[in-house]
Structures are given as structure tokens and as C-alpha cells.
Amino acid sequence: MSTLLFAAASSAYGAKIHTPHIDYLSILPILIMMGGAVLLVTVSSLFRQVMGVGSATFITVGTAVATLVAALFQWDHVVTHGAKVTIAGSIAYDGFSVFIQIVVAIAMLLTALIADGYLKREGIDGPEFHVLAMLSASGAMLMGSANDLIVIFLGLEILSIALYVLAAFNHKRAESGEAALKYFVLGAFSSAVFVYGIALVYGATGSSNLPQIADYLSKNVVASNGVLLAGLALLLVGFGFKIAAVPFHMWSPDVYQGSPSPVTGLMAAIAKAGAFAALLRVFVSSFGTLRADWQPIVWGIAILSLVVGAFAALVQKDIKRMMAYSSINHAGFILLGVQAATARGVSASLYYLFAYMFMVIGTFAVITVVARDGDFGHQLTDYRGLGARQPLLALAFAVLLLAQAGAPFTTGFLAKFTVVAAAVDVHSYALAVIAMASAAVAAFFYLRVVVAMYSPVGAVGDLSDRDAGELNANPTLVTSPANVAVSGHGQTEAVASLSVLTEGPPTSAVADRMVRVPGLTTVAIGLSVGFTIVFGIIPGPIVDFAHQATLLFT
């Protein structure tokens, strides 16, 4: 049919339209992921009555595994045959893109496992959840492979539009709709900014193709590059929005809080993976020659994200809001690798994305189950006593939180170490020190959750076995001036008021009952914790994987 049309067209106008040669292998994982989504939506429309959540999950998991296998095959292929660009130069087929495919495929796999229990618990009947999740995953994967600004935008929109709908997916919760609306309005706005950025860059360089832009910039010295820099700035704003970097982060606490918990995990993992992949490719590889112009801006954004993320998280009572700010802090860390703009920086960012994906999805898996029926138990008080009731779940959560804090012998530490090393490598010492200091602040709020889990539900202000009289006598004996200064200037009060956050009554009356952990969610949490610890103790394989992915960067 189409050949007939083409034949007619060419004969009518006398010119043959050259369709690019399509190297299907280079986009195989994306095709599988999209195909899975199409398959699932078709099958579920045809067999609505017999299709339950379980079979939709089955198809999704199958698709994710197939995508992963395809990506691993690609990896093998790229390692042996080298990197190349395909489909008229719009798709990069290199270690970097395959790395992102693998990260996103695993994220999809874990999310499908978690969502299964969530959908059943909430009574949401819908293969559409899985369909949309797969579509957004394919968008993130496309962003990772994109070698052209237009294709990046395509991926960005596929990713985002599916996520807007997913954010609203739990129609029983008003917050869910609010989150989706906020995300949509601001997201659409940032997309518009991003497109405008593409237009300006195209106007300044004459191409939207990344290697051609790089080529143009290396051959021409643009005397007045105002348009180019404006385009660059707008692109950065668009990316900044997707990765939730300060000052483009305003949406993230509300959206993280309102979205269904499995969606939040997915959003945090793949939106970051896709957007950072594109950001790295555009800025480090195409606009590498202009790094003197954009590095200071990224430096500033990184510091703001690190500091605002760490400090704002301190005062959150809602764990999902806290995780939103923690994710902003993590974005700041990954920006350290971007700011370095070196091979070491790229590989550090990739490693960080991989490690963070497991940590954040695992964390949101626990948040999903602890939230209970209705997805509402997100106060820190809801975590009190979890350690006594469900020690394994609490232990898993503690490991994931400590890993995010950068505890030694977890992937979380190595992730922080690699990006800090990348920053030090390019002599960004101040940035590196601020990042580590922000990690100290961040550790504080992660630990607060851990402490809440391991303290009994009713215990408020227990004085253990020390007399009250002694306590009253004690402050007067503090003769060290430094101590007096500290306790006199509100540090004690600040700490006291922070510890109040974990006290008080929990959200629900059933808070001290056991929460049910579905089998598939257990598998997802187990995989996350396993990865975080095993590859924290044996870092070689994943670190070398990220390193090698960077070497095969086109």
C-alpha cells in the first residue's frame, strides 16, 4: 500500500523521496517497550472481561524483561562492533544510550511489580496503568538514544504526557488530580520553553542534529552568539524542569506527594534517567565547546539543588514530600557530573542514575505498602514502630534510606563518591565540599525516618532511667562557653522541634497494625536492596559498566 503511494508520489513529482534506512536493532528496546504497550492496550480492549490486573502485570513484566534482554544484546553488539548513529543521524547507538535503555527497562520491571499490588489494593482496574507506564518508559529510552534535538523533544513528550495521566491515576484521591494538573500545566510550559530553545539553537547553528551542531560550533567562531546562548539557556530550563533542579523544582513536592506512590517512584527514576541522559548528550557532547558559558550556570543550579533539597527536606512531615526534596538533592549530585563535563563526569552521572533508580524505586515500594489502603499513610508518624512490627520491611527501608544518605558499602556511597571525584577532577573543590556537606544534612532526615521506625508507637519523651531532678540540675553545670552558646542560640530548639515531627498521633487509627506486603512488591524491594548492597560491596561490575558506557559515547 505504502509502496504504491510512494510510487505514485514519485511519478507525480518526478523526484524520489529518500526514506532513511532504518536500523531496527538500534531502536529494538524502544520498539519492544512501545509494542508491549500497544499489545497490552489491544489485548485488554478485546478481552476486557477475562483480563485482570494480574495478566496485565504479566504482559508488562514480560515486555520489560524482553526490553532488558534486547538492551543487553545491544550492549554486546555495541561492545564488539562499536558505536554508530542510525536512522539519518537521529538516533545514537552507543554504550551511553544502551546504558539508559537498561536502566529504564529495569525501572519499568520493578515498577510493574510494585504497581500490581497497589492496583489490586486500591481496587483500580486498569491495564491502562501499565500501558501508560510502558509508554513513558519508552519516552525515557528514546531520550537516551536521541541524537537530534527534535527526537529528544519527541521522547520528552512521550515520557511526560504519559506521566501526567499516571499522576492522576488514582481518581479516588483528590491530591492525585491536583498533582496531575500542576504537573501538566507546568510541564507543558516547560516543554514550550524547551521547544523555543530548540528553535533558537537551530536558528543559530542551522541544524537540530547534535553532531552537526557540534561540528558547526567547532568550525565556526560565532562572534555574537546571543541567540545561541539564549537557546542554550532555554534548553537548560526545560531539562531543569524535568530533573527537578532548583529553581525549576517548584512542582516536584506537590506532584510527588499527590501522585500514586508507585508512579512517584517511576517518575523519580525514569524522568531523571531520560532527562539527564539527554542533558549530558546535548551539553557535554554537542555544546562542549561552549562549556565556559554554561558550566557556571550548571554550577549554580547544582549548588542550589544540593542546598535547597537538603534543607527543605528537613522540615517535611510527609515522607513523599521529603523524598521529593531528597530527589532534588540527588539531582544536585548528578549535576556535579554534568558540570564536570568530562568522561569521568559522564560515567559518574550514569552510575549515579543507575544506583539511584534502584534506591528510589525500592524506597517508594516501601512507601506504597506502608501507606495502606487508600494511599494516605505518608506521615513520618506512620513509620513509628515499624521496626518492631515488621523487622524485615523496616530493615530493607533502613538500608535504602541509608544508601541514599551515602552510607559506606552501598551503591549510594559509590554514586556520591564518583560524582564528587568528577567534580574534584575539574577543580570544582567548593562544589564538591558543598555537596558532601549537603549529604551530611540529608543524612539527618533519612536517619530521622530510620529512628522513627525503630521507636515504639506510644513512646513520647521517655526519660529512660534518669531522674528529672538531675536533668534540671544539669544545664547549670554546663560551664563550657561553646556549649552555652550552642544551647542558647536555638540549635537545641531547632533539633527539638525537628524531632517533634516524628511524634504525635499517626494519621490513621490502624497505624500500629501490620501492613500487607504483596509477594511481587517483596521481590521488587528485595531486588533493590540486593542491588544496593551487593554492588556496594562489590562495586567493580557496575562502575566498570558505567565507565565503559562512556567510552562508547559517540
Binding site: 560515567s347 530493615l395 541509608l402 552510607a407 559506606p408 558499602f409 556511597f413 559509590l414 563518591f417 564518583t418 564528587v420 571525584a421 574534584v424 577532577d425 573543590y429 564538591a432 565540599v433 555537596a435 558532601m436 556537606a437 549529604a439 551530611a440 544534612v441 543524612a443 539527618f444 536517619l447 529512628v451 525503630y454 526519660l463 529512660s464 532511667d465 534518669r466 531522674d467 538531675e470 536533668l471 540540675a473 544539669n474 553545670l477 560551664t479 563550657s480 561553646a482 556549649n483 550552642v486 537545641t492 533539633v495 527539638a496 524531632s499 562495586p539 567493580g540 562502575v543 566498570d544 565507565h547
Partner: protein, 529 residues
């Protein structure tokens, strides 16, 4: 693998780590209540046995690292699982290996022994790992790993203000480490730019050539972390509250073992990596040490709370260790190393006795306790010995360290040594005064009924007393093992600081440095100038 020697140090680190996991996995139900503690004590005793084996097999007059095990850990990051031990770390490892089982025996948890024992064992693994790491990042990992168990030990089993103390401890130490990590990475990259090899191994990095400014900045970055951990004045403000609010086990381990991570870090890393910066900043560190000694002693005089008193006395003692280190003489540094061990033993004994006293009387206030020598003569006797050792009475171990430190400092930095000596006099004042308050005087009814140390407690404290006396009377075996490594380190510092002298002096200073006599080389270089 068949030719490689048995990896003693790896085993030494792994036994408590695996033990911690095992204890954490033994269920609470279905086993007797004491199971977890028994397993924990058994694990720590096995660790001690390995440590003793290492001590026996240690080659006495060998200055370099022994029992080396070196495996690539993360190739593209240049991190090695590189463990080794010399005379400087040998006795710190021994001290830690001895104190952990004693702490588990003598300062048991009031509740939830399973988690408590697991955290203590993890802390033991982290401390031992820090003392034997030769790779900078590996050291950092273990150094940071100590924070997590300590946070939970203070926050979970501490006294009234435990939450505040735990957070303050955690934030201070973690913030200090921020500089340390950045500094470590920077050194490795400087080394890479000079040699093309990315490695974090100390033996390779210690020959990195650093400009004056870079060296000083890196020295400051490293020392920030170690000064907080030790603590050195003025980074000590977390320590009194942490020592006081921690449970007895926490106080013992914080003050005896973990404080030494800071001073050990200075000796192992600052002196090896930045010898020139060490020389440049010696006056600053000596001054801080002396201020710490005098300030700690004076503030300790004003304490009526025994735990706070010991906390501030510890600050003064650590000042001595820093003083000896930065004297940069063989005697001073040897004194600092041996004083680390001595102080660990002394303060562990002090905190254990004070903890037992608290169990009986629910108080640490010296003015609420009186005349306990009548009702608890053994406790009074133990306290006397430990207190006298802490003051530095000849014949007990404290004397050896303080004497070496002061004489080593006096040779090169006379007035700092003189000022520090006042610290000893004040130490005698506050400790004797505290002893008078608690053990002398007319006992009240409550004091008369206070139980003396039980047999189990006497057995726990006995090894410490024996070591305190033994090291005081016959320190030679310990000094024999410490001195070669110390001399080598001093020679390294001298050699590095002299390479900056005019070429005429190089040959001369190299020969004097090789002979290991630092006092001879200093005027030699001065003459050439």
C-alpha cells in the same frame, strides 16, 4: 592464592562484620534471651584471638607494613582492598580488640540486646578496618561506617538527651568528613596527573609532589575531619554531650577507640601525605593542642558530673597526643602512639566504673556521692589505680606516654611543653578532687548501702588494671614494636621537608635522614641555609 599468606587482617575485619549480621539474623523469639549477647561476646573473643595471633606473628624490628593483603576492588576508580599493619596501628588494633569484648561484657544493653550487640560488632569491624586500611577510600569507608552504629547506639540506648547528642555527633563528624573525602580525591588526582596512575593507596600516594599551598589546603581538609573525630579543640563541642548522653558502652567506645581514629588519621595520613604542610602548620596544631590540654583540664575542674569530667579530661589527654605527634620527634611521636593505647585503656576503665556506679546510684553527680570507700572498697581501689594512671604517676602506663610526649616536645618546642605540663598538674587536681568527693568523707545512709563491685565486674576490669600496670612497669615490648615504624615516619617527614632546601643540603640531609636521627638533620639543614 596458595602462595599468599593467610589474610589475617581481612579475617580480623570480617569476623565482627559477619558476626553482626549473624546476631541481627538470630530471631528474638524461640531462643534464650542471652543468646545474642553470648554470640556477640564469642565473636568479639574470636576477633581478639585473631588479633593476638597477629601480635605474636608481628616482626618486631620491621618498620614497614606487615600482613599486607592487596586486592583490586573497583578497577576504574582505583580503589584497592588494601590492608596492612605497622607498629603504629598494631597496638591500636590490640586495644580495640581487647576493649570490645570487655564492653559487651561490662556495659550491657538495658533493652533489645540483639540490635545493640549487632551495632557494637559492626562498630568493631569499622574501627578495626579503619586502623588497618592502607587505601584512602577504604579508610574513608570504614571511618564513615563507624558513624552509623554509633548514631544508633547513642540514639537508641542513651540517656535523656540522647536524640540531641546523637544528631549533634552525627552532623559534626559527617560534615568534617566532607572535607576529608574531597581532599582524598584531590590527592589521588594530583598523583594521577604526575604519574598517570590513579590509585588511592597510601604507599604510592605518599610520594606525591605537592606545592606548598596545595599541601597546606589538603592538610587542612584532612585534619578537619580528624580534628572533629578526635576531638581537638575547638572542634570538640559535640563530645561532652555525646560522651555524657551515650550509654556506658557508647562512652567507652567513643572515648577509647573512636577518638583514636582521629589522632591515628593524623599520624597515618597527614604526616605521610603532607610532610611539608605538617611542618608548616606545626605551630598552629601545637598551640591548639596546648589550648586543648589547658582548657580541657580547667573545664574538667568545674564539672560535678563525673561523666562530663571524664569527657573534658579526655579532651586534655587528646591534646597531649596531638602535642606529641606534632613535636615531630621520634620520642614525641612514639609517646603519642603509646599514649593513644594508654588513654584508651584508662578511659575505658573510668567509664566502665562510672557506669557501674550509675547502675547502683542512678547518679553521676559527685556531690551526691560520699564516702564510698567504706561500702565499696574494691571499686575505690580500682578507681584509684585508674585515676593515678590518668594523672601520669610513674609505674602506671599514663606516665610512659606523657613523659615521652613532653620530653619529645621539649627538645624542639620548649615553651609548648612547659605550658602543657601545667595540664598534668591540673589533671591531678580535678581527679583527686573528684576522688575525694566520691570516695572520702562521711557516707550517708544511701552511700553505706551501695554495693561493691561484683565478682563478674571485677573480672571484667581486671584485664584493664593488669594492662595499665604492666605497660607502666615494662613498656619495652610495646616500644620495641612501635619505634621502628615511628622512626621511619619521622625520617620520611624530614626527608620530604628537606628536599625543598638548596641543592647543597640535599646530600647532607638525605644521609642524616637515612640515619634516622631527626635532631641531627635539623641543624644540618639550617646550616646549609
Amino acid at each position: 592464592m596458595s602462595t599468599t599468606p593467610f589474610p589475617f587482617l581481612t579475617v580480623l575485619v570480617l569476623i565482627p562484620a559477619v558476626g553482626a549480621a549473624v546476631v541481627a539474623l538470630i530471631p528474638r523469639q524461640r531462643v534464650a534471651g542471652w543468646t545474642h549477647e553470648a554470640v556477640g561476646i564469642a565473636v568479639s573473643l574470636v576477633t581478639l584471638a585473631v588479633a593476638v595471633t597477629v601480635l605474636v606473628r608481628f616482626k618486631t624490628h620491621f618498620a614497614g607494613y606487615q600482613f599486607i593483603s592487596d586486592h583490586i576492588w573497583a578497577k576504574s576508580l582505583g580503589i584497592h582492598w588494601s590492608l596492612g599493619m605497622d607498629g603504629i596501628s598494631l597496638f591500636l588494633v590490640m586495644m580495640a580488640a581487647i576493649l570490645f569484648p570487655l564492653t559487651l561484657l561490662g556495659a550491657r544493653a538495658k533493652r533489645d540486646p540483639r540490635s545493640f550487640v549487632a551495632w557494637v560488632l559492626l562498630l568493631e569491624a569499622a574501627c578495626l578496618g579503619s586502623f588497618v586500611s592502607l587505601d584512602l577510600i577504604l579508610f574513608f569507608l570504614f571511618f564513615e561506617l563507624t558513624l552509623v552504629p554509633t548514631y544508633f547506639i547513642i540514639g537508641g540506648w542513651g540517656y535523656a538527651r540522647r536524640g540531641y547528642a546523637a544528631i549533634k555527633f552525627f552532623i559534626y563528624t559527617f560534615a568534617g568528613s566532607a572535607f576529608l573525602l574531597v581532599g582524598m580525591v584531590a590527592v589521588a588526582f594530583l598523583h594521577q596527573s604526575q604519574t598517570g596512575v590513579l590509585t588511592f593507596e597510601l604507599p604510592a600516594l605518599m610520594h606525591t609532589h605537592l606545592s606548598g599551598t596545595a599541601g597546606v589546603l589538603l592538610f587542612v581538609a584532612f585534619t578537619a575531619a580528624f580534628a572533629v573525630k578526635a576531638p581537638i579543640f575547638p572542634f570538640h563541642t559535640w563530645s561532652p554531650v555525646a560522651y555524657t548522653e551515650a550509654p556506658t558502652a557508647g562512652s567507652v567506645l567513643l572515648a577509647s577507640v573512636m577518638a583514636k581514629l582521629g589522632t591515628y588519621g593524623i599520624i597515618r595520613f597527614d604526616l605521610n601525605l603532607f610532610p611539608q604542610a605538617t611542618r608548616t602548620l606545626t605551630p598552629v596544631l601545637l598551640t591548639l593542642a596546648v589550648i586543648g590540654i589547658l582548657y580541657g583540664a580547667v573545664v574538667a575542674c568545674a564539672q560535678r558530673d563525673l561523666k562530663r569530667l571524664v569527657a573534658f579530661s579526655s579532651l586534655a589527654q587528646l591534646g597531649f597526643i596531638v602535642l606529641g605527634t606534632f613535636a615531630l620527634t621520634s620520642q614525641g611521636l612514639t609517646g603519642a602512639v603509646i599514649q593513644m593505647v594508654n588513654h584508651g585503656l584508662i578511659i575505658a576503665a573510668l567509664f566502665l566504673v562510672i557506669g557501674w556506679l550509675y547502675e547502683r546510684r542512678k547518679s553521676w553527680q559527685a556531690n551526691e556521692l560520699k564516702g564510698l570507700q567504706w561500702s565499696a572498697p574494691v571499686m575505690a581501689g580500682v578507681f584509684t589505680v585508674v585515676m593515678l594512671a590518668s594523672i601520669g604517676v610513674p609505674g602506671l602506663n599514663g606516665f610512659i606516654g606523657e613523659f615521652l610526649i613532653l620530653s619529645g616536645t621539649f627538645i624542639v618546642h620548649r615553651w609548648w611543653a612547659v605550658a602543657a605540663t601545667f595540664g598534668i598538674i591540673i589533671a591531678a587536681l580535678y581527679l583527686l578532687w573528684a576522688y575525694q568527693q566520691v570516695f572520702h568523707g562521711e557516707p550517708t545512709e544511701r552511700d553505706k548501702t551501695t554495693r561493691d563491685l561484683a565478682w563478674s565486674e571485677r573480672l571484667i576490669i581486671a584485664p584493664l588494671i593488669i594492662l595499665i600496670v604492666f605497660l607502666g612497669v615494662y613498656p619495652k615490648p610495646v616500644l620495641d614494636r612501635i619505634t621502628p615504624s615511628v622512626n621511619q615516619l619521622i625520617a620520611h617527614v624530614d626527608q620530604a621537608t628537606h628536599t625543598h632546601q638548596p641543592p647543597v643540603a640535599t646530600g647532607q640531609s638525605a644521609s642524616t635522614a637515612a640515619s634516622g636521627s631527626d635532631s641531627g638533620s635539623t641543624p644540618g639543614a639550617g646550616g646549609a641555609r
